[in-house]
């Protein structure tokens, strides 16, 4: 029997007054009311809609919920208790068939026995939003197709629904009714297994005297922080991996060092443990990376993906797919768990910051961003975007002085808290008459202060610590780029277009500064003028690509920074559709590929191939699969994009073949590395342009001659 009552049932501010009197039972089974409908009152509602959204935006449908067509993509269920208060809201994914609906209703009933519920399938208008901590999402009207609940994960053909790429297939059984409290732990366990297994392989500097590598640096910082007084941290021997990261890294190292010291005191004996390659130490260090990541990056990413999903009206299930893809990013896995670094801590704070801004809590965004900067100064890549956005929300749509002051105050306070232990520690050590190391050189910054500071002044030790920390953190004396990195300067220099040695380093730094400013300017202006949340990841991506390509003192590992916001876009509107997936996948695979020369040095070839190819496989991308480019959804990708990407993919494959089998000519021993750098730079440049272009297009700064509906998202 076809249901005939899809009209709005109630429109009132006080649902409690009306709802109990309007028990609406939808007849679910043919001809007879479903068992669930026997409950007389009060009632619960099952909304059928083309889309999730707020109650007022949900359109009544003219067909019942029990018809498994594409139209009923998202079903929102609300249950009310005796007073008509919303107790539970549940959203279900696309393409439910009726048996599933019934099943879920039972499940919900079973879990909330105190709520007398009755499910109906009518549609209500004007219900109050659920009591959620987040702000209610607003949905743009006009593009329901994009929001039809299928964010590009499912291909429908004559046979039925099919996963659009293999990653979807793995989550296919979790579609619809499976609680995210089952799905999420499974995802986190699976990605954790890949992380830990990657850690079985080599790390940077393993048995490579004299300097070893990043692993040794991190171990050394642990022994420095746990064995030396705090005032010595930034003064200790710079030559052997002196601490040159901001204070949060130092505190993190201290904490891990204390834990490690409980396990084995031999690991962190200052001077004696240098270059230690004990297997148990490796296991411990790997564990610290994973634990740090699971405490910071993974919760942040999970929440951020949910925020992005809410902004774009994406079902939880599809968000889980995006989350898995983000957490399996090959480059991040390989650098943190293979090469050995703690990037995910810094990236986690950045994601938390983005997530807070998306959630409408810019002050928390400031705190997290300061934490990211305080962990690794490379977070500066994002700083212009953060600054422009925060300034933008203080000025548009109207000037908001209170918010401005709040942001300024919170930021200053966060920095103060960040440096407080170092400063107070310096003061305390001076009080205890602990001298600085005899070899100490005073930081140049101190002498260049515009006022004279007496060594007797009570605040002198604090100023000394602060200036020394800044001196260590920002080593302006180093070169334009390190080793071989796929950015503009290295590409210009090494490819022989123009040798940069002939210029003065000051000139080069100024050139880098100028070019970087120029490259980040468009994104900053856009996000400043249009500080809307849904374009935030685009702005982050564009700015960090600009920095990566044009700035100074960039490592190849820094490609993780632009990759992060770009990969987060998978969780945003249309993120898993062929076009976006192709671009984001392209950037990630190219990024991973540019890391190959580094990973090869660390004996990480096999994990590189396994993780990169696995990710490509899961996302349906070349070189493993061509389904994204030539499959059912390939119509969404323009021919030019296809051609461009294919050229790059072929280039990467050819490069691997050449690198493996053809020795470079004696006169050009670095030929393959240079080739990698040049192709990488070109590809990243294109990614920069793509992100910037999309930022512009999605910002609606330009109306493109068409009448674009006024953005409804409330500007913060």
């Amino acid at each position: 029997m076809k249901p005939t009552d899809p009209q709005p049932t109630v429109s009132t501010d006080d649902p409690g007054a009306v709802f109990p009197q309007v028990p609406r039972c939808r007849v679910l089974d043919d001809g007879k009311p479903s068992e669930l409908c026997k409950c007389p009152q009060p009632t619960n509602e099952m909304y059928c809609s083309r889309d999730s959204g707020d109650a007022e935006t949900i359109k009544p449908t003219d067909k019942g919920c029990d018809e498994p067509t594409d139209k009923f993509t998202v079903i929102i269920w609300r249950s009310f208790d005796a007073r008509g208060v919303v107790r539970r809201i549940k959203t279900f994914g696309p393409r439910l068939d009726r048996s599933r609906v019934n099943h879920s209703a039972t499940a919900v009933l079973g879990r909330a026995p105190d709520v007398r519920v009755c499910w109906t399938a009518s549609v209500s208008v004007g219900m109050p939003p659920p009591p959620a901590s987040h702000r209610p999402r607003k949905k743009r009207k006009g593009d329901t197709i994009a929001l039809s609940g299928n964010n590009g994960t499912i291909v429908t053909d004559s046979v039925g629904a099919k996963p659009a790429f293999p990653l979807v297939a793995f989550l296919f059984p979790a579609r619809g009714t499976v609680s995210q409290w089952v799905t999420l732990p499974l995802i986190l366990m699976a990605v954790g297994l890949f992380r830990w297994a990657t850690g079985f392989w080599g790390y940077s500097g393993f048995q490579k005297p004299p300097m070893h590598g990043d692993f040794e640096a991190q171990r050394h910082w642990m022994e420095v922080t746990i064995n030396l007084p705090i005032s010595h941290w930034y003064f200790h021997d710079l030559q052997w991996w002196g601490l040159d990261y901001p204070p949060l890294t130092a505190y993190h190292s201290w904490l891990l060092g204390q834990v490690g010291n409980l396990i084995n005191t031999d690991w962190f004996m200052i001077h004696q443990s240098r270059g230690l390659d004990d297997h148990d130490l490796k296991v411990f260090m790997r564990a610290t990376v994973i634990v740090s990541e699971y405490l910071i990056f993974i919760p942040a990413a999970t929440i951020c993906v949910r925020h992005l999903g809410r902004l774009a009206g994406i079902s939880t299930w599809e968000s889980s797919i995006a989350l898995t893809a983000i957490l399996m990013q090959p480059a991040t896995l390989l650098i943190d768990h293979g090469h050995f670094q703690y990037n995910t801590v810094m990236l986690g704070f950045v994601v938390a910051s983005i997530s807070s801004m998306l959630g409408g809590q810019p002050l928390w965004g400031c705190v997290y961003f300061v934490a990211a900067l305080g962990f690794k100064q490379m977070a500066l890549f994002y700083a212009p975007a953060v600054f422009a956005y925060l300034l933008g929300i203080c000025l548009f749509p109207r000037i908001n002085i209170v918010r401005f002051l709040g942001i300024a105050l919170v930021t200053v306070a966060s920095f103060a808290v960040l440096f407080l232990p170092i400063l107070l520690g310096g003061l305390y050590d001076a009080h205890r008459n602990i001298p600085l190391p005899s070899t100490v050189e005073l930081p140049p910054l101190l002498s260049s202060l515009p006022f004279h500071v007496s060594e007797k002044a009570w605040y002198y030790p604090m100023l000394l610590q602060l200036t020394q920390a800044i001196h260590r953190i920002f080593p302006f004396a180093r070169g334009l780029f390190e080793d071989k990195v796929a950015n503009i300067w290295c590409a210009i220099h090494t490819s022989g277009i123009h040798k940069l040695y002939q210029y003065d380093s000051a000139l080069l730094s100024r050139a880098a500064l100028g070019l970087t400013s120029l490259s980040i300017l468009p994104a900053c202006i856009i996000i400043f003028l249009m500080p809307r949340r849904n374009i935030l990841p685009w702005a982050f991506a564009s700015v960090s690509w600009g920095f990566f390509l044009c700035s100074y003192q960039v490592h190849e590992k820094n490609v993780l920074l632009p990759l992060l916001p770009m990969t987060l876009l998978l969780a945003s509107e249309g993120g898993l559709k062929a076009d976006m997936r192709a671009w984001i996948g392209f950037a990630n695979i190219l990024g991973s590929w540019t890391l190959y020369p580094l990973l090869k040095k660390d004996e990480l070839r096999i994990p590189y191939f396994v993780l990169t190819l696995l990710w490509a496989y899961l996302m349906g991308l070349p070189p493993v699969s061509t389904s994204t480019y030539f499959g059912a959804q390939s119509g969404e990708i323009s021919a030019a994009t296809k051609l461009l990407h294919m050229v790059f993919y072929l280039g990467m494959v050819a490069w691997h073949v050449a690198e493996a089998f053809i020795p470079p000519p004696a006169s050009k021993p670095d030929l393959w590395v240079v080739g990698n750098v040049c192709l990488g730079t070109a590809g990243f440049g294109i990614c920069y342009l793509w992100c910037s272009w999309n930022l512009l297009a999605k910002s609606r700064l330009l109306a493109w001659g068409k009448k674009v509906p006024k953005p409804e998202e409330k500007k913060l």
Binding site: A169, M189, W196, A287
Partner: protein
């Protein structure tokens, strides 16, 4: 009916990625055992295979497995020829490790194929449940721990077993099923424990008439008998010809090993040993005689007899009688109702009986129970109810195989992942 996702192939790809990443993981002495067998089969004439004892890890699997090692050794020489020298004890260059680990992954394709066939031949109504069961076997933590970390070729061998079980699903496949099982016995004789179920099922369903057990299917008997004899001849005839059977059998059935393995498998004898241990302390109060010599040797089952201090010693014959007695009940039922479900049930129970009462049982033998049972677990909720505790305790009982800190997170997280994922899915899928 739309296709089922994730497909077996997709899961195999994902699992392979993880398995390759696990290559540098801890490996047990079984790795050296198999390297040694590669060396023996590659560098010595067949006559010497079962006499060679340079390494303490002598060849003690039946001839087909030796032939299998010989085949692998033909490829091994391209990876690293040094692993093929018998004198190179404990050799584990990274080429050797990668090669041997890769062979485990590649030969496991037999299991992938068998499971694919299983889902394909399942009736439409139980496609979904068969698919879930197949994935649970493919992704089994038991196989990951034993094969891909500890190092053995169980995926390959269980693949043959599943293939044989699946073929038995149709009457037309019974002959082939029996022959394949005979071949499996010539790969690894531990599967002898399952042989009674095969014997009864093939006898009843293939050799005797459907309607009356007295109508003897003579041609079928001849076919099956000839097939099995041919398989055994292929395996053992050369050794019979050279008069090496006594030596071969003494290698295959080393009764000099104790009742319990060095690590106690969680079976009846473990309880028995434990009771004995407790009785050592209690005996003086109960005025029971204590065998002083045995007090310090109860767990030393690796070589030599296990002796008990208080309880009577258990001779091998005793374990066999108990095993057969425990197997009898399901076999009787199978004889009178020779359906495929009863057959798989009988296999499971035969595996159980041998695991619980067998002589010198390894904890790894629990797969002999779990894998056949997985094929049946989704039949209905009663089966699932029995499967759940087995899945949890069976897999957890494998944990002591890996004792290194590095592998600890893999074994625990993977097992929890599997248990949560599959028990949840099974719970949703199992018919009421």
């Amino acid at each position: 009916m739309s296709e089922l996702y994730p497909s077996i192939a997709q899961c195999a790809v994902l699992a392979t990625a993880l398995k390759v990443l696990l290559w540098p993981a801890y490996k047990s002495t079984d790795f050296e055992v198999h390297r040694n067998w590669l060396a023996i089969t590659h560098s010595l004439p067949v006559q010497k295979w079962y006499y060679e004892k340079t390494s303490e890890w002598t060849l003690d699997y039946p001839p087909f497995f030796a032939y299998f090692e010989w085949t692998l050794s033909q490829f091994a020489k391209y990876a690293d020829a040094a692993m093929l020298q018998v004198q190179n004890l404990g050799y584990d260059s990274w080429e050797t490790v990668y090669f041997q680990r890769a062979t485990v992954i590649v030969t496991e394709l037999v299991l992938v194929y068998a499971l694919h066939l299983y889902v394909k031949s399942a009736p439409q109504s139980s496609k979904r449940t068969s698919h879930a069961a197949a994935l649970s076997i493919l992704l089994s933590p038991g196989l990951l721990i034993i094969d891909h970390i500890h190092f053995q070729y169980n995926g390959f061998l269980y693949g043959i077993l599943v293939l044989s079980i699946v073929l038995a699903l149709k009457r037309s496949g019974l002959l082939l099923s029996g022959i394949i099982f005979a071949a499996l016995l010539c790969f690894k004789h531990i599967y002898l424990y399952l042989a009674p179920a095969y014997f009864v099922y093939l006898l009843r369903a293939y050799c005797l008439g459907e309607k009356s057990i007295f109508r003897f299917q003579f041609t079928n008997c001849i076919k099956l008998g000839a097939g099995i004899v041919a398989v055994f001849a292929l395996a053992f005839a050369p050794f019979v010809y050279w008069g090496q059977m006594d030596q071969l059998l003494s290698r295959l059935f080393p009764f000099s090993r104790g009742l319990c393995h060095a690590y106690w498998a969680p079976n009846v004898w473990a309880m028995y040993s434990f009771s004995d241990r407790v009785l050592i302390y209690v005996a003086p109060y109960l005025k029971l005689p204590v065998n002083r010599d045995a007090v310090n040797s109860v767990t030393r089952g690796l070589v030599g007899d296990t002796s008990f201090a208080v309880l009577p010693d258990i001779p091998p014959r005793m374990t066999f009688i108990l095993t057969l007695a425990a197997q009898a009940l399901p076999l009787i039922k199978l004889f009178f109702q020779p359906t495929w479900d009863n057959f798989v049930g009988a296999l499971t129970l035969c595996g159980y009986a041998s695991f619980l009462f067998g002589w010198h049982v390894h904890e790894k033998a629990i797969l002999l129970v779990i894998i056949p049972f997985s094929l049946l677990a989704l039949k209905d909720r009663r089966y699932l109810g029995a499967f759940r505790p087995l899945a949890v305790s069976g897999h957890v009982s494998l944990f002591p195989l890996l004792f290194t800190a590095q592998e600890f997170p893999i074994k625990t997280v993977y097992t929890i992942f599997w248990l949560v994922g599959f028990l949840f899915a099974f719970d949703n899928l199992a018919p009421a």
